[in-house]
């Protein structure tokens, strides 16, 4: 009977004070949770914005770095080409220098030979003039 009465009262929106208090308390709890979730969502949204901004900054930075790297790479390729050209030029110059060194050595041989020939002739000439042995006077 009691249960029937309670169901009937509930059907017309009348509950006991205890249940009403419990419902109110639950409502407050849910409101608190909702507020907390709202705060969390808001914090997450602002965090997301912050991260997006950071991502943009970092993308910009990466783009700049990529540009820098491309430029650096281009510069290094240019430098490499220049070094290759310089190396080829230096090799050519080295060959020419070696050729000149050879020619100079050959000329020195000739000069040395001629100096020895002239030395011998001079000694002979002096020797015959002095009628001696050719030893220095």
């Amino acid at each position: 009977m009691k249960r029937l009465l309670r169901e009937w009262l509930a059907a017309v929106g009348v509950v006991s004070a205890r249940r009403h208090n419990a419902a109110l308390q639950q409502l407050e709890t849910l409101k608190a949770i909702s507020a907390e979730r709202k705060n969390s969502a808001s914090a997450a949204a602002s965090r997301a914005q912050e991260l997006e901004a950071r991502l943009r900054r970092q993308s910009d930075e990466a783009g700049k770095l990529q540009q820098k790297m491309d430029k650096w790479k281009e510069q290094r390729q240019h430098d490499f080409r220049q070094l290759q050209l310089q190396l080829a030029k230096t090799e050519r110059e080295l060959k020419v220098a070696r050729d000149h060194l050879m020619a100079i050595e050959v000329k020195l041989d000739i000069l040395e030979g001629a100096a020895n020939v002239l030395d011998t002739r001079t000694r002979v000439a002096l020797s015959s003039q002095r009628g001696g042995t050719g030893a220095p006077a």
Partner: protein, 343 residues
């Protein structure tokens, strides 16, 4: 191009032999029995050339002969009665040229200025400079017989050193081509210089030989390497250097550089052939216009024989440094480390 035998007819008429063999020597007993060796090779080569009807001239330069010995010319025709004096040109060069040209008192024989005397005066369409102990191989003879030579090409032949009995007066193909007589492995010529015993075989048309001015007369400090140096000059002058395709045979004898090339290692300046390390593969030269002692006064000695008397006007300058030049084209340079002498 007329055939070589047709050229012989012309030569006999006093016109142009196909090939002039330029040889030099003197009666000084070089390398033991020089005369016997010379007569053996001359007899063989002359016989082979004649049997193939190759019109040839023998240009012999008797360089600075010793005053106390008879000239080779005085008995060559007696030793080789088959040799016609009409196909020989004999030049006896005053010994003072040896003394006044030399820039190295250890060089007893200026082989290449001597050969230049012959090159300058050779009458043939082609000039073959060789040595008095070299037999031409069968292939060389065949090429000459076919007249298969091009102008502007300097031909080289690999040298096979052979040990032959020095008591023989004649040599035949069997002996020359017998591998048991080879004194060592046969040489193979390698481009660009086709070097190795170059002095034993340099064959070039006369006009080109004159254009390059013969062998180097500016560098008179060494005898060794002057033959290799002519290849540098030829390449630098736009000529082609080629292997003729068959060997020549060199009769081994005492005193030969080939037998002991390192005999003077460590004291190269004392070598009778000069310092073998000079840069013969690295530099070129421009000979004076009087190369080959062309300004030397000549006196007739006999049938087709002359004496080149001494004259200072024929002697090239003692020092002519501006005519040591860099080659404009060289097959390859000496490898690094070979440019500077290692004392």
């Amino acid at each position: 191009m007329p055939r070589p035998d047709e050229r012989r007819d012309s030569a006999e008429a006093g016109i142009v032999p196909f090939v002039s063999l330029v040889l030099t020597g003197r009666n000084d007993g070089y390398g033991g029995d020089f005369l016997a060796r010379f007569f053996r090779t001359l007899r063989f080569n002359h016989e082979q050339l004649t049997s193939r009807s190759i019109a040839h001239e023998i240009v012999f330069v008797e360089w600075a002969p010793p005053a106390n010995r008879p000239l080779i010319r005085e008995f060559v025709f007696e030793a080789l009665p088959e040799l016609d004096a009409g196909i020989c040109s004999w030049f006896v060069v005053d010994a003072r040229y040896q003394r006044e040209l030399s820039l190295n008192p250890r060089l007893e024989y200026l082989e290449f200025p001597a050969k230049n005397v012959g090159i300058r005066r050779a009458r043939g369409r082609f000039v073959l400079t060789t040595n008095c102990d070299v037999y031409f191989g069968r292939h060389v003879m065949d090429v000459l017989a076919r007249g298969a030579l091009e102008t502007g090409v300097l031909y080289r032949a690999p040298r096979h050193d052979v040990n032959l009995s020095s008591r023989r007066q004649t040599v035949d193909w069997t002996e020359l081509e017998d591998p048991r007589h080879l004194a060592g492995p046969a040489h193979v010529l390698k481009p660009p210089y086709y070097g190795s015993a170059t002095g034993d075989f340099v064959l070039l048309d006369t006009a080109s030989f004159h254009a390059i001015g013969g062998f180097n007369e500016v560098y008179r400090v060494a005898r060794i390497g002057i033959d290799r140096n002519v290849i540098v000059k030829a390449l630098s002058s736009g000529l082609t250097v080629a292997d003729i395709g068959g060997p020549v045979y060199h009769e081994n004898h005492e005193g030969s550089y080939r037998l002991n090339p390192r005999a003077f290692a460590g004291r190269e300046a004392e070598a009778p052939w000069g310092d073998r390390r000079w840069h013969s593969g690295g530099v070129s030269y421009v000979n004076p216009p009087t190369w080959g002692l062309s300004a030397a006064p000549t006196r007739e000695l006999g049938e087709r024989a002359w004496i080149l008397d001494f004259s200072w006007s024929a002697v090239p300058p003692l020092v002519d440094l501006k005519h040591v030049v860099l080659p404009t084209a060289r097959g390859s340079g000496p490898p690094p480390g070979h440019y500077v002498r290692k004392h």
